[in-house]
């Protein structure tokens, strides 16, 4: 069997937007995946000592199997190192530096045959984003980050996301806008996993997500699959899985926000298995099931 592809999710957003807070949350959550997180600087990563197995110069290993490391001299070569790790991590998360174009990094996951595109999540600080986006020096780069996002994660919106911000972001990007203050867990957003729905305890009282999973024997051509995914309910954050094909090994699917990625499966797909998540406020499990089952 081939090694599974390594999905890459890039976290973008300006300095102070809340990327590190998000990563600290991800590393602590009970998502059951061995996530490798690459950051620019360890300074702000804050892991309780009892969660740490070891910490040396540029790598921290956690008791839950996650690893956090700095990317060093060359981000792309560091991605190569991540691919060469054995066992290969289940998911790679890269924190883009504050002004960076996250697409420049995420595109590598589309290009690299051993990686899967896990999307660009851009953290938007509800209090400061508007001013930054209007800044004559950095505004264009700040708006550019939103334009390439697959998911927009709104931070610091204690009193709700201001409608003006919502409208402005929507004008730049069709990506779903998610108030991360409201989310019970960030792992489903960043990793696309459904751990909370697989028998584990759901987050405190108000699970923000609805999950759907499917196991069937349908086989689809690439074109048919692409057409199907293009009609997926707008509100879905993520879809991923393997789809059988009539005359090839099958397909590996990663949908993040409006981005649809289909790569040929590395091993023969016997059964079509998909999972999807969306916000409970906007979509019901039956809506997702309807979309998939309709001819």
């Amino acid at each position: 069997m081939s090694l599974p592809r390594l999905p890459l999710t890039v976290i973008g957003g300006y300095l102070g937007a809340g990327k590190t807070t998000l990563i600290n949350r991800l590393l602590r959550e009970d998502h059951g995946q061995r996530v490798l997180v690459m950051v620019n600087d360890f300074g702000a990563i804050n892991i309780d000592a009892d969660l740490l197995v070891s910490a040396d110069g540029d790598t921290m290993t956690l008791t839950n199997g996650c690893v956090c490391c700095t990317m060093g001299a060359d981000l792309f070569m560091a991605m190569g190192d991540a691919l060469d790790r054995r066992p290969r991590p289940d998911h790679l998360v890269i924190e883009a530096s504050g002004i960076a174009d996250p697409a420049r990094i995420a595109t590598a996951a589309r290009a690299e045959p051993d990686m899967a595109y896990g999307g660009i999540a851009v953290v938007v600080d509800a209090m400061h984003w508007g001013a930054l986006a209007d800044d004559p020096q950095i505004g264009a780069q700040i708006r550019g980050q939103v334009a390439v996002a697959d998911l927009l994660l709104i931070s610091k919106a204690e009193d709700g996301v201001p409608p003006a911000l919502t409208a402005r972001l929507a004008a730049l990007s069709a990506a779903p806008q998610i108030d991360i203050g409201d989310c019970a867990a960030v792992a489903p957003l960043l990793l696309g996993g459904l751990a909370p729905l697989q028998g584990k305890r759901e987050g405190g009282g108000h699970p923000a997500y609805v999950g759907w999973s499917h196991d069937g024997d349908e086989a689809m051509s690439r074109a048919a699959l692409a057409a199907k995914l293009a009609q997926a309910p707008q509100a879905l954050y993520r879809i991923k899985g393997l789809v059988a094909a009539p005359d090839s090994a099958g397909w590996e699917v990663q949908v993040v926000g409006r981005s649809i990625e289909i790569k040929p499966a590395l091993d023969r797909v016997a059964r079509t298995r998909l999972v999807a998540i969306g916000p409970q406020s906007a979509i019901a499990r039956a809506d997702i099931a309807d979309w998939w089952s309709q001819g």
């Binding site: 060093g72 792309f76 290009a111 690299e112 020096q137």
Partner: protein
């Protein structure tokens, strides 16, 4: 006590105003003991006269204030650039001016490869070629049974053959930005930007991260320096691991290693204490030939790549303003932190907006954490004019101007990037000196070949490739240019007490020249043969 050697030369240009020229220099313990005539060291005891350099002209060893040791890694591959270039072993590689010649050289290289070796070439620069575009078909005609990869000189593009495309599975169905296509939708072989190039590079083993600090590459860098008369060179923006730093320290430590290396490291630390601790660790490795201590910051991109941050009226083609590598707020924070930590910064700024922001940040840092001897250096600083230079002077900031750009890119800057008005005042050496600044000039090797005499020629003559004089008012004199490649650059590295001139007490580092640069036609400066170097009194075999 070791002996005294008195070297005789046809002429010694000292760069010491107290004795501008001489015929003899006495060396003891790797340092200059005395300068003058044959008797200059007689009062110090028995001397040994050495006439190996008797017919040559000696200058202080040249100081390259902005170069990168990664140059040597590229020479593992086949050079296919437009300009003539010399490899570390002294073999000339004539520039290739049309695609047929590029393909011929590739075929030649392919014939010499082992069975499974990929064919990798570098330095390709299509802007200068008028012939058709290089495609996978051309490269398939070189060889179809192994990957062929041609790296473009900009570093942002490559062209590959069908075998390389197949190795990474790029085809008409690939949904990857950066894969350039033929009209029929098939990839044409050109790949743009790292994300699309990285899968190819990964499969052919192109990982430069630590290579340039390994022994063989450090040695090759030494040969490049010796050939161009350089006895002190920077490795600017070295991202070092402790292991790499130790390897570099070992490789440069032997007595006849021909060049002193001054790395400016990139740092990711965000507090003064952490940076100080990192630099203290690195400084432990320092010796005569290795000087850790400074850091490098990248602020914007390049002018020819339209990624430099420039002020009004922007790029002549209406391209959007460039890209910050560090947002201005972070430039401010980092400058303040480094200033507080007492760490000298070499700060890459190409566009005038970037230079302005950096000067603002340095002014604020200087108010918050006064440090009169900070001597931070703006590197490239290609669009600074008198007003910005005056601010730099007020702050005690130095500049290292990219004089080689005038010849290599001057025509393009006038025609395509910033237009003739601003191109004529680029790399404004005259204005920088008039502002009283400490100024160096540089090659940014491997971006352009290392060669301080060529760099000096550029600053003196301001000729472009098409033969125009770009901004005659910014030309400087030959003595000023020679000062810039010796004492000027030494000052930007805070090493002027040790190197940069030939005078008693300094290290015996010399450039050995065939002719007197002050006596020849300034237009011949770039052609003046360098015969070798002397490092710490050790004469390196004459070339």
């Amino acid at each position: 006590m070791s002996g005294i050697t008195v070297f005789q030369a046809a002429k010694i240009i000292t760069m010491d105003p107290n004795r501008p020229t001489a015929t003899h220099v006495a060396v003891r313990d790797g340092h200059v003991l005395a300068v003058g005539d044959a008797t200059c060291a007689d009062q110090w005891g028995r001397v040994h006269h050495d006439d190996r350099l008797a017919g040559t002209v000696l200058m202080p060893g040249f100081v390259e204030g902005h170069s990168h040791m990664s140059e040597t890694c590229f020479w593992d591959y086949t050079y296919v650039g437009f300009h003539d270039r010399i490899d570390p072993d002294g073999q000339p590689w004539p520039g290739l001016t049309e695609i047929g010649a590029v393909l011929a050289r590739l075929r030649d290289a392919a014939a010499r490869l082992g069975p499974d070796e990929p064919l990798i070439a570098w330095g390709f620069d299509p802007i200068f070629l008028s012939s058709e575009r290089l495609t996978r078909d051309h490269l398939d005609s070189v060889t179809a049974d192994r990957p062929v990869v041609v790296l473009f000189s900009s570093g942002h593009l490559m062209c590959v053959n069908s075998a390389a495309l197949a190795a990474v599975g790029y085809d008409r169905a690939s949904n990857v930005e950066g894969i350039q296509r033929r009209p029929d939708g098939e990839p044409n072989g050109e790949l743009h930007e790292m994300a699309a190039m990285f899968p190819v590079m990964r499969r052919i083993g192109m990982d430069f991260r630590t290579r340039s600090h390994q022994r063989a590459y450090v040695d090759a860098f030494g040969r490049i320096c010796r050939r161009s008369g350089v006895t002190t060179a920077t490795d600017l923006f070295a991202m070092v691991t402790q292991e790499g730093a130790e390897a570099l320290a070992q490789a440069t430590a032997r007595p006849d290693y021909p060049v002193r290396i001054v790395p400016a490291v990139s740092t990711l630390h965000s507090t003064p204490e952490e940076v100080r601790a990192q630099m203290a660790d690195l400084r432990q490795l320092n010796h005569d030939k290795l000087r850790f201590g400074a850091v490098k910051l990248m602020t914007d991109g390049s002018i020819q790549g339209f990624s430099a941050r420039i002020l009004w009226p922007g790029y002549v083609g209406g391209q959007p303003n460039g890209i910050w590598n560090m947002p201005p707020a972070q430039i401010h924070a980092t400058c303040a932190m480094m200033q507080q930590a007492g760490i000298q910064m070499h700060i890459h700024t190409n566009g005038d907006e970037a230079s302005t922001v950096v000067l603002d940040a340095l002014a604020a840092a200087a108010r918050a954490h006064p440090w009169p001897g900070a001597r931070h250096v703006l590197q490239h600083a290609q669009m600074m004019g008198p007003a910005l230079f005056a601010r730099a002077a007020e702050l005690g900031v130095c500049v290292n101007l990219f004089a080689n750009h005038i010849w290599y890119f001057g025509d393009q800057h006038a025609a395509l990037t910033i237009g003739p008005d601003r191109a004529a005042r680029m790399d404004a050496c005259r204005a920088a000196l008039d502002a009283g600044l400490t100024m160096a000039i540089h090659s940014d090797a491997p971006v352009t070949p290392m060669g301080p005499l060529f760099t000096a020629w550029c600053a003196v003559n301001r000729q472009t490739m098409s033969g125009r004089t770009l901004g005659a008012a910014q030309c400087i004199s030959v003595p000023e240019a020679l000062y810039a490649i010796t004492m000027g650059a030494a000052r930007t590295l805070k090493l002027e007490a040790e190197i940069g001139s030939i005078e008693a007490g300094k290290r015996a580092d010399f450039a050995v020249l065939a002719e007197d640069p002050l006596a020849i036609d300034p237009m011949r400066l770039k052609d003046l043969p360098v015969l070798g170097t002397v490092i710490g009194g050790h004469v390196d075999a004459l070339i």
